[in-house]
Amino acid sequence: MRKLVFGILILAAGWSSCKTNDGKTSLPIFGSRKAVTKTVNGQSVTDTVYQTIPKFSLVNQYGDSISNKNLDGKIYVADFFFTTCPSICPMMARNLLTVYNTFKSKDDFKILSHSIDPKHDSVPVLKKYADKLGVSGNTWWFVQGKKEDVYTIAEKNYLVAVKQDSTAAGGYVHQGYFVLVDKQKRVRGAYDGTDPKQVDQLITDIKTLQAEPDQK
């Protein structure tokens, strides 16, 4: 009986979250925001400025430099992993492969997997890892950079949605989240990368995002 009630609750939660998405056909925007008043053509206009992913500089599995500019005009999923991680990373890779296979033909879609162990995860190690996952081309980049930089951007920018939702202190970087970023580099969602149901929701949300007018 308890299971049944629980199931109904989950269904209800799923239904209501779907409904919100369907109703608005848009996703929430996470992070801080501020109102900025500018003077345009003699008129004062107030605009909302959202938090965006700041500049970064990384190297991908091909040894190419990847900066924030390479993600201009792209919808992308960011995550944090390391190649020798025995616990949740294979699960995340398995789930992220589903996302990859769904969207790999889209020019404006990317996946950015950040290594949090750059000492071990050199360019050749990342390349080998990508090869073993059957990942080729330029849709899914496995990147590494300075460890502090990756941690900072993870905690201060990518994982803002997780921080807002969680009361737990720290450690978000290790929890296997997939973060959805839009073409304006605003965070639009965070999903538990070890949970196939949340990953299905991510795929649905990417489609919702692609349909937004300013994401075309």
Partner: protein, 144 residues
């Protein structure tokens, strides 16, 4: 006193039926034991193996091997316990493909290792029967 003499055929039938029933009760005990090991092993698999080897034992492409290579499991029966207990640091060939990533050690007791091997040996298309705790304890003594 006069001995009662039963016809030979009845004695033979009785004897045979005792032997048969003993055989079956034995087998029932064995299969019950296997089922117990199997269900305990399934829970251990979920906690310690599933993240990497997947719920259906399919592994992860060229990164993590599948657990459905019955020939490998049979040929390496005596070293499975060591691989689980102490991890695996040498390349192996599964289903004809080479795998060279390290497998981390799982700190499991001999009984748990026996149960999880029994689970693996009878899942994912394998039908290799059970491995007992005694066998695991013996195997663990000769780990390389």
């Amino acid at each position: 006193m006069m001995a009662i003499r039963y016809p030979k055929s009845i004695v033979a039938a009785l004897g045979l039926s005792i032997v048969i029933s003993l055989f079956f009760s034995c087998e029932n005990n064995n299969s019950l034991e296997l089922k117990r090991y199997y269900s305990e092993g399934a829970a251990i698999y979920q906690t310690h193996c599933l993240n990497c080897h997947a719920a259906d034992g399919s592994g992860l492409l060229a990164l993590i091997p599948a657990l459905n290579d019955s020939t490998f499991l049979k040929n390496n029966k005596a070293s499975l316990a060591c691989a689980i207990r102490y991890g695996l640091k040498r390349p192996i060939k599964i289903n004809g493909k080479a795998y060279d990533e390290n497998m981390p050690a799982a700190n499991l007791a001999p009984m748990e290792i026996a149960q999880v091997i029994t689970y693996m040996n009878n899942s994912f298309g394998n039908q290799l029967g059970m491995v007992t705790m005694d066998e695991v304890e013996a195997d663990l003594k000769s780990c390389k």
